[in-house]
Subunit: 339 residues, 3 copies
């Protein structure tokens, strides 16, 4: 695709030869002939001088750093995302249902239902929905227009998925919440009768699980992005455009505000409220509600094992150490008085 | 269902109008007409005065807090669980095997085998077992009466699942344990010839995995409840009625006592023994055997990131700090002597 | 199998009666008649005197500790692995494709393709590959000779898996990396056009996920062993013969050297470089690049909850405590001068 065609479609300011043709996107360091690279992180600015790319996408501040044909755009990273999408249209699956699929509900003609998919009764499938092989959609489920469910995704009965969802392989939506009442030594299962309700433009990662609510619903807001291996417990509510990296866990009935982010393996215990714009660092355990935006952290600093041994040993004596310091202060004060 | 019918079935003491009809359970705050709410946590006791519920389930201590028709029961939470089950019977799947299922073993007439299920050879399926679409049951497996396996569950060859199991979607039972012998730089696989043996009344969460034993079996006791995204390694033994929240990991050959609980993302290293009634806090790493019941914790306290930076920086100097305090104590003692 | 047959096949030095027949391997403590046990960990050496095994595998140092027929080998653990493999040949799945499989590419006659498997277009399947029921192989994938994919594994389009791979059930290879550009409040998806390229002799655990690269590939070296519930993000590179235990997470674009090991639930943030032979302890969070081999740790020590409460409370005052100690030191120094 010619540079001037890209700019015609996606906007931005063209500088240099607009007739240059690019067929793929690459990094500044790796791109070669026929490829367009991008500068988003100022750290890589020097690579503009040496890149083998045929053209580049740059922010205004770096517009004059190169003589290459270039597209200047204030959000060069988002622009890069759009160019990747333009040059790499998603694989088109055949329309209609594969003969091996078992479909108990009507489908729009635009839907693509792959091999061995199972669609239950009273299911609503939107336009241009793609169900990859092995997907299982329970009774009463609703899936919005343009959503893509990758192989072996499971959606339990009555759950709702909005438009343009991307659900990666092996994800489970609507499994029973972990609800049990103690009766003597035994655990008595509490049937989970809520649903999972997912907004529009949500992505759910591979092998992530989202439990249905106990009585009320588990709710995932619009534009939420969840990475792989995440666990969302029953009755969690996640605000619009929040994002969570891999291996995160959110325990039951916790509410997370809009635009929050949680780093990899961050964990949030149950029945908490996180305000909008709270950012939880990777590996951090959130044990209390957070009413103010900001970044929060709780990780033990990394050390070579032997150094760790020495320092960690002191943790168990920390309360005593604090006491000893207080006693020293007292004694010293008395000595000063005496002198 | 009328209140007096519920009491006739489930026991408890009826107070007020037993002819009131309820069709669903709700929270005190959310319940409306035709719904029965419950008080389990004393924290919500005030909501009894304002609830819109048609009836309530209360413990004896709160029996006089409301004029609503009510059921009084000492374990109001367990009673609530039973009422939810009564009013929400599980979805009934059709009996018999769907034509798309491939079944290599005899099935009882009461079993329900869904679309695209695969049942291997020499498999024993109990009465009233439900296999949802996409379940794969390996050769020689045994599944007890009344068990339910949700979509895309995989049970490897020769594993044993007891009666009334509930296995959520995507769970894997009996994958190879992580056993390798080092040979020079390379890892030599040790075939895993043990099984997974699961007792009665066990729940296994979505996308949880339980590895088969190396030589002996991995054993999950009766009444054990495992949440989603859990990893149980080879030769782990979990005692009766233990419960583990989401994202927990238990490494190889560890034995966990009866009634133990592990909070979300708790991790237990290998070759340990945890006594009965040990409770591991969320996010806690168990690095040694625990011979006494009680609660154990190992998490770094949460702070705003900047505060964390200041305090965490000291961790690396903690051994030195302790030394400096010891030196101060010594000096002060000497000064006191001198004075 | 007779002991002398085993030695003829696997090497090692036979002592005692080579005509003894063993049919299975057991632990020193558990083995009975017809079983061969092994001593690898010196801790169990005393059990040699009391084992009920018919024969044992021992290292040279313990060769004289028993009068039982025995095989002496310097790496008794690896020898044990080989004997287990010899006595427990892997289950042989039928050759050819089951009629319920949907296969869009040519297969070698030696391949075994199970029930409800889906193989896409332009797929290359090597000799003696086994695809268990429910496996989904995307278009353009390549799988090397002798690889085994257990039930419901998903391999996305264009990924490459080397020879002799073992992929446990529910694993997902090639899901989209977690790449989004921020645009105002919203996240814009960056199509992930790299692949996952896996070397030879790799094992991937149950429900583990490996994301495809954003522009370049995610690369798993030869001989790498990954346990269950692991998350490997886009553009991660893992060196040959590295091994990771369950629940590990590696964030995007991190490079991990050869022979590295990561203990259970270890987490490594993005854009780091770990040298060869780095060993990360269980539960450890790696937050910076590690240029030197060695073991690294970052875990909060475990305590009974009440003790933890006391000590953890001090963490938040640690910077102040250090300051107070510094002030004490200063004061004391001044007093010493004055005196």
């Amino acid at each position: 695709m010619r540079l001037d065609e890209i700019v015609a479609r996606l906007g931005g300011e063209l500088r240099g030869d607009g007739s240059v043709v690019v067929s793929q996107v690459g990094t500044l360091a790796g791109a070669g002939a026929g490829q367009i690279a991008f500068l988003a992180n100022p750290k890589y600015r020097k690579q503009l001088a040496t890149t083998g790319a045929a053209a580049v996408i740059v922010p205004p501040a770096a517009a004059d750093d190169t003589a290459l044909p270039r597209i200047v755009h204030p959000n060069s990273y988002a622009y890069y995302a759009r160019v990747v999408a333009l040059l790499n249209p998603p694989a088109q699956r055949p329309r209609g249902a594969h003969p091996s699929a078992v479909v108990h509900s009507p489908l729009p003609a635009s839907a693509s239902v792959g091999e061995h998919v199972v669609v239950g009764e009273r299911v609503t499938i939107g336009e241009d929905v793609t169900l990859y092989p092995g997907v299982v959609v329970g009774d009463g489920v609703s899936i919005g227009d343009g959503s893509v469910l990758y192989p072996n995704v499971v959606v339990y009965r009555d759950c709702v998925i909005g438009a343009r969802a991307v659900i990666q392989a092996g994800a489970v939506i609507g499994s029973d919440g972990f609800g049990f009442a103690k009766e003597g030594d035994r655990w008595l299962k509490i049937p989970q009768i809520g649903r999972v309700v997912i907004g529009d433009d949500v992505e759910v990662g591979a092998n992530t699980s989202i439990d249905r609510g106990a009585l009320d619903d588990t709710v995932i807001g619009n534009g939420v992005k969840l990475d792989n291996q995440i666990q969302i417990a029953h009755n969690v509510r996640i605000g619009d455009n929040a994002a969570m990296a891999g291996c995160v866990g959110v325990a039951g009935s916790t509410t997370i505000g809009a635009r929050c982010t949680v780093g990899g393996a961050g964990m949030i215990i149950g029945h908490l409220e996180l305000a909008d714009d709270v950012h939880v660092s990777a590996g951090t355990m959130v044990t209390k509600s957070l009413a103010r935006p900001g970044q929060y952290t709780s990780i033990f600093p990394l050390e070579a094992h032997d150094d760790w041994l020495h320092n960690a040993a002191q943790i168990k004596r920390l309360a005593k150490l604090a006491q000893r310091v207080a006693e020293l202060e007292k004694k010293l004060e008395e000595m000063e008085k005496t002198n």
